[in-house]
Symmetry: C2
Subunit: 231 residues, 2 copies
Amino acid sequence: VGSDNIAALKIEAAAQALTSVRSGMTLGLGTGSTAREFVRLLGEKLMTGELSGISAVCTSIVTQTQAESLGIPILQPDSKPSIDLAVDGADEIDPDLRLIKGLGGALLREKIVEQASRRFIVIADESKLVARLGRGRLPVEVVRFASPWIEERLRDAGLDPVLRTRDGVPFLSDEGNWILDIRIPPDRDIADVVSDLGRHAGVVETGFFPREATEALVAATGGVRRFVRPA
Amino acid sequence: VGSDNIAALKIEAAAQALTSVRSGMTLGLGTGSTAREFVRLLGEKLMTGELSGISAVCTSIVTQTQAESLGIPILQPDSKPSIDLAVDGADEIDPDLRLIKGLGGALLREKIVEQASRRFIVIADESKLVARLGRGRLPVEVVRFASPWIEERLRDAGLDPVLRTRDGVPFLSDEGNWILDIRIPPDRDIADVVSDLGRHAGVVETGFFPREATEALVAATGGVRRFVRPA
């Protein structure tokens, strides 16, 4: 599957998610290359008048900028919006609809918005399906003040933390934190690793989303498959 | 016990903790009225030359300002200092040396520093001893972006969250977060409540310190009692 084809699959999954959007809904808008396609297509439907009365909570400053450019009304959390539907991508999806997210660095606001949503559709191309989470690294968002000590402890725990950088300096999340990308050892369960991480003061959030997704739309060359979390 | 007497007891506990400090140590300096007495007495010992070669990591900007005014060399976390001993107050201390901290709003950096310390002495007057934690409120530090949703969920859970304010606006922690002060229901165990809180994205830390303290020095009118955590 070439990268052109993957780009086309992302659009297919995004278009399929759009069929769940109704006029008047409050949406949660994700972050990343697949979510960007969803926001773009949403803007088109609003432009043509096929959809109206939509408002949205954004999971990153990047997405908010895109949504504003398309004229989508933005809600801030202080109005405590009730979110009907969130749509976002993922880096890895396992058979139980557990996810790894956060390669784009927006994991904290993504998880906040997706937990506040009645329904959360993950959109992805089939390359994101894994039998077991941890093929790639798991992002761990940490308070800067705590980062040096936490990095040392995670190294001692065999998790091989790498401080994420951009242009040679530590990558700063929208919330002003740093990100340590860790590796899940093959002999350990990701849920246990994440549970242990929670014991370290200064770990704000991880990219492990165990129960947020209610369904997934996964585009393959044969079409879009829909997975639903058992009730 | 009057407030003058309580002030005197805080000084007694702080003075007793100072007897554990040796020249050359790296210290973690707490925040609050009792920790302030410890820092003040430490400054005196450095001034007289009874102690030397001390450096310190501070748990708040307030404490750092005090320490700097006393000429105590300050270490930042980026040098990943190995901390020999932390000394800090607490709002509640139970018989297992579990603590509630954070009325001063410094709970996050306090927990980070105290977890990074080989030894952590809690100093307090006897009014802080409780049979069961939760006499007062438990501070929960939350990401501002998540606060409205979390506040609603904690209210639904019967925890009576109150957004902490100062001068009529939300109190901002040193890390730029807000604090929700919750009440532990009498029929619930604080450890269970805190464990549930960890499921909400945007909860950064709580003022429950279950295992950080290695000993406590508690001043009463009859003298200072020392409690040690069982190995």
